[in-house]
Amino acid sequence: MADDTMVAKEGVEKETVAAVKSLGDKYKYGWETDVEMDYAPKGLTEDIVRLISQKNEEPEWMTDWRLSAYRRWLQMEEPEWAMVEYPEIDFQNQYYYARPKSFETKPKSLDEVDPKLLATYEKLGIPLKEQMILAGVEGAGEVPADGDNSERKVAVDAVFDSVSVGTTFQKELREAGVIFCSISEAIREHPELVKKYLGSVVPPTDNFYATLNSAVFSDGSFVYIPPGVRCPMELSTYFRINAENTGQFERTLIIADKEAYVSYLEGCTAPQRDTAQLHAAVVEIVILDDAEVKYSTVQNWYPGDEEGKGGIYNFVTKRADCRGDRSKVMWTQVETGSAVTWKYPSCVLRGDDSQGEFYSIAITNNMQQADTGTKMTHLGKNTRSRIVSKGISAGKSNNTYRGLVSMHPKAKNSRNYTQCDSLLIGDQCGAHTVPYIEVKNQSSRVEHEATTSKVDDDQMFYCRQRGMDEEEAVALIVNGFAKEVLQALPMEFAMEAQQLVAISLEGSVG
């Protein structure tokens, strides 16, 4: 019944739902595209760093930047403070560069893209319009922007393993003055912007994984919104880890100049694997005066099987710097995948009257482990932040919220409100809350609330009585529990996210 309601309401394909159901406990996106890959040798040395830089045709300053990060990384140690456990990662047993062979000469147009790649996107469930665009259907990219929701547009910069395969809607974005391209292209075409902003939010020395990323990032997205421009469409990157044993090191840099606005979507799926894969991405966002950035993520990488075998290790550094006065950032994340998640999208509220928001749903099932949260660093006056975190643990998983709210002495009259709710499904899982609160001035107000509870028996009874099976009922209740966060997502994502919530919790009851 829940499925029917969802289909009727959200227009999700019946076959998709049926296909997902038929997979049972199997991972929905557990398949692998057989595209020839071009690998750099395993392991990490200065030569590999140089090779990555050379393959991306980078200027010397960029190579040096990477090398200094690499040298720094050699001195660093893996952080151990998160509540996650995993076998030691052999950083020398990873590929740091892989890309589809058919890219060795870059495609002039999307027609030249390997059809298997396009099929990959189809399986990923990229909306039809974008598929057409990605497939190079003539005229598909020229639908004018308008306010009609049914015609909402999303520009995709798809990342297939390590190289961006195509960027759509380029023309329209160009007209608006928006730069949306792969970071390697930006390094070549817009070095002045990259030099100015890359590493200015997450410095190359920031932490073990960010430093590693700085040395070896293969590609990623670059966004620049010029002053006063409201980006005419939502920008989106689909991340995808495809080749076995390939670490994915994406680097995203978003700059919203004065009075600019952009909404950015990041969605991820990865094929089923037996050996764990490493992912260490960095996302940097710079927001100048009166600008606003919304960054939404649905993360659905392979979580490993019921015994905890396989799955992605996701060690991500995401940070937004509200550098300008009255600037605003909003992080929304739905974390359902990965065997291990280590992720703290943060806000540095430097400008006066700047605002940071963090909305998160983290779902763990089976043997998954998630340690995620945010940091709100209030530096400017009258800054405001809001944290809404919903953690759902099932199976034998552990789900930790870890966050910092810091009010610096000069952040007068600032406000923070934090709400962390945890829901436990089953008696073998764990839900933890580790907030840090540091208040160093009198006029700021900080409020933190956290609760932990289980799926309410009465609610379950009510749903069951109306003919829902147990799993449907749990999915419905959990979606209700996480409603505040789901509502913060852009519409395209909200639907996918609701489905994901149900899929992620399969097998957690009964």
Binding site: E77, E78, E80, W81, M407, P409, K412, S422, L424, I425, G426, D427, Q428, C429, G430, A431, H432, T433, V434, P435, Y436, I437, E438, V439, K440, N441, Q442, S443, S444, R445, V446, E447, H448, E449, A450, T451, T452, S453, K454
Partner: protein, 434 residues
């Protein structure tokens, strides 16, 4: 082990080696020497706390680690009567960390046996064998407490109290600081047999630097009340550790008032081991100027249907720092747990700081656990309301401060004691004005 971790441990052990040079383990009988040696080996494994330790990041441990404490000038209490003096109680007085029989009352009390720790060498105090250092050891997980292990190993004095019935009077531990002594190490053990009941009062600074450990074993259905007022000497430093183990249907209630003191670290570890037990721990801390107060509270639910409640309030100004670290740990199988934790601070000016880490770690699904933590200034609307009724600004402020900490004081069950504590609070506020 990671290199950084190894280096840190080496530094912590070096700090310990330096500290141990200044200490001698007191002589004692077989069992107590064994307990002390076991504590020493726990301590040697961990070393002394370091600023990089997770639970010391808000409170630099340097002053507590130093081989010798900085001397503290004796404090002039003015005309103030010592706290609890009006109460009919059995007084046990320690002067500069040593039991003073002349100043103390006769230690006989119906239903209560009181022994000196130093008599453990000669007397067979069989019931204390399974307790001294034992609950402390339980409290070393999940987080190590080196300064408590140090206390168990080197405590020079203290009392062992066994309660078999309902104590008709409170037992009162008074720690006087009268000479230039710099350090005092006291270790007290309280065992409440099934159904027993007692109120324990504690007050006084003891020394320039006071390291105190209290182990409490609350038997089935027993009830233990604890009310403490830490000395209001400006220069004193203290690290106190409370280790509590509760059996089924037992009740533990503790309240601490801290006004002044350069550095106070109050640690508590409560283990709810029997079902239907209840633990309440509360504290009010008032700091003005050179004041650092740290409450580090861990409550572990390891049985079904237990309740725990933490309420900590801090009023801070003129550079005072208040920190709170608390954890509710619900072990697998501790279903029907009801855990509540509240930590709040009132910052009266821009120099004050509040640092908090209220944690939940939960491994059972049928639980209701929550925590709240807030920090802010006096509400101007409330102030206006009082001022509009003709109350002067300072009195209004004091009223609002008392209202703010009232919730913590409500955890004191006995009205008489509650009034006494409120009286102390009012006097402190009045003095602060001048």
């Amino acid at each position: 082990m990671a290199v950084a971790k190894e280096k840190l441990l080496a530094r912590k052990r070096d700090a310990l080696a330096e500290r141990l040079g200044a200490l001698t383990m007191p002589e004692g009988g077989a069992w107590i020497t064994e307990a002390r040696k076991a504590a020493l080996s726990r301590l040697e494994a961990t070393g002394l706390p370091a600023p990089r330790d997770e639970y010391w990041r808000f409170t630099p441990p340097g002053a507590l680690n130093a081989a010798e404490a900085a001397p503290a000038a004796l404090f002039d209490h003015g005309g103030e009567m010592p706290v609890f003096d009006a109460v009919d109680r059995v007084r046990i007085v320690f002067v500069d960390g040593v039991f003073d029989a002349d100043a103390s009352d006769d230690l006989s009390l119906a239903g209560v046996e009181i022994e000196r720790l130093s008599d453990a060498a000669t007397k067979d105090i069989h019931w204390a064998k399974g307790l001294y250092g034992v609950i402390e050891e339980l409290g070393q997980t999940p987080v190590e407490r080196p300064l408590a292990a140090l206390n168990t190993a080197f405590a020079t004095d203290g009392v062992l109290i066994r309660v078999t019935g309902k104590a008709e009077k409170p037992v009162s531990l008074i720690y006087r600081h009268e000479s230039e002594t710099s350090d005092a190490y006291l270790h007290n053990v309280v065992k409440l047999e099934a159904g027993a009941e007692m109120t324990l009062l504690e007050n006084g600074p003891a020394a320039a630097r006071f390291n105190k450990c209290l182990e409490v074993d609350v038997g089935k259905g027993a009830r233990f009340h604890h009310i403490r007022a830490q000395g209001r000497d400006h220069e004193r430093q203290a690290v106190t550790s409370m280790f509590v183990r509760q059996d089924a249907e037992s009740l533990f209630k503790s309240f601490t008032l801290t006004a002044n003191g350069r550095l106070t670290r109050n640690e508590a570890f409560i283990l709810l081991q029997g079902r239907d037990a209840s633990a309440h721990i509360a504290g009010a801390a008032l700091g003005h100027g050179d004041f650092h107060h740290d409450d580090t509270v861990f409550i572990t639910h390891d049985a079904e249907n237990c309740e725990s409640r933490q309420v900590f309030k801090k009023v801070l100004q003129k550079g005072a720092v208040g920190t709170f670290q608390g954890k509710i740990l619900v072990q697998r199988g501790a279903q029907k747990t009801d855990g509540y934790q509240k930590s709040q601070s009132l910052l009266l000016d821009d120099d004050a700081q509040f640092l908090a880490k209220p944690e939940l770690e939960i491994y059972a699904d049928d639980v209701a656990c929550s925590h709240g933590s807030t920090s802010g200034a006096i509400d101007e609307d409330m102030l206006f309301y009082l001022r509009a009724r003709g109350i002067d600004r300072e009195t209004s402020m004091d009223l609002l401060v008392i209202a703010f900490v009232a919730e913590a004081m409500e955890e004191i069950e006995d009205e008489g004691f509650r009034d006494e504590i409120i009286g102390r609070l009012e006097a402190w506020l009045l003095r602060r004005r001048s």
